[in-house]
Amino acid sequence: MHELGVIIEVVKYVEDFAKKNKLTKIDTLVLQIGELSAMIPRYIEACYPAAVDGTMLQDTKLKIEILPANAICKECSNVFNVIQNDKVCPNCKSEVWELLCGKEFMIKEIVAY
């Protein structure tokens, strides 16, 4: 499970960001995770308490937004969800498409003061 190492990096980044911007308390951390990202939201949630323990984010709530794995069909320009449609365009059955989003792993925003 590699989520712990990655989330520790995230916590470091946010702590740095908070220091630079003179924030005293972070209420919520919002992450965006693509459906095709190598990060699994369930695991992120599981290791989050360990990652924030003893840091400035100790009491910070975690919110995760899932971004869909959407692609555009190269044949008919239809936009569809790759996972739900088994990697085939539901409109024209083409397997040639380009991923628009779904691999992200982003720190979207923080709620702080």
Partner: protein, 222 residues
């Protein structure tokens, strides 16, 4: 009264790693040290390949090795016997290395003056492909017993490597493994990939592999 505010960050976590990787690559470029990131499944023959590669090059290059076994120093002590400089990276159970851990390894190795550093990444075909380590080039070993369908199952790994070594070709007669099929599958994912069949046991194919590596090390120093 609500004094909370929402502060947008919009920072890709991987781009943070990518930046650290670029910094490390630049540092290594200045040091004229070539870093090879070697990835594969467990047991595909990384350590055996590293040992034979050191044997072939040790008279003309100063070589260092970073071993990233999860919880042992078995491989590190084998490599140390060759006389190459070696360190064990403490990955703390991690399934991949990121640029920051690689940088710590390079510092601990005191890589100044080394021509070539080989990083034996954690044995795993999934997430090491997602994390740029700061290496000059990426190599992957696929061994014959693993089967020729691996490019279909782990496409990302095959698309990020510069060279693919197909190892254990001495065992080809026991397994039905189709090298041409593998080549066809990986070229579809990665048209520029170099595929070299080898046997780390017999040394077959090593001339081509060593040639490739020498050329890349030389190009890196220019």
């Amino acid at each position: 009264m609500n004094t909370y505010k929402i502060i947008e960050i919009k920072e890709s976590v991987f781009s943070n790693n990518d930046r650290q990787a670029d910094l490390l690559r630049e540092e290594l470029k200045n040091k004229k040290t070539f870093l090879l990131n070697l990835m594969s499944s467990p047991g595909s023959g990384k350590t055996t390949t590293v040992l034979r590669t050191i044997e072939a090059l040790k008279d003309e290059m100063k070589i260092g090795v970073m071993e990233a076994d999860i919880d042992s120093d078995v491989d590190a002590s084998l490599v140390a016997k060759t006389g190459a400089k070696v360190i064990q990276l403490h990955t703390g159970g991690m399934c991949h290395l990121d640029a920051d851990m690689t940088k710590q390894g390079i510092d601990a190795l005191e890589a100044d003056g080394l021509d070539l550093v080989i990083l034996e990444n954690v044995g795993n075909l999934v997430c090491p492909a997602e994390f740029d380590t700061g290496s000059s080039k990426n190599a992957m070993i696929l061994s014959v017993p693993e089967g020729d369908d691996k490019p279909l199952k782990y496409p990302l790994m095959f698309s990020v490597v510069d060279v693919l070594l197909i190892n254990k070709i001495d065992a080809m007669c026991i397994f039905d493994f189709d090298i041409e099929k593998v080549k066809e599958r990986v070229k579809k994912l990665n048209p520029n990939i170099k595929v070299i069949p080898i046997s780390a046991k017999t040394g077959e194919g090593f001339d081509e592999w060593i040639d490739w590596l020498k050329k890349e090390v030389k190009a890196w120093k220019e």
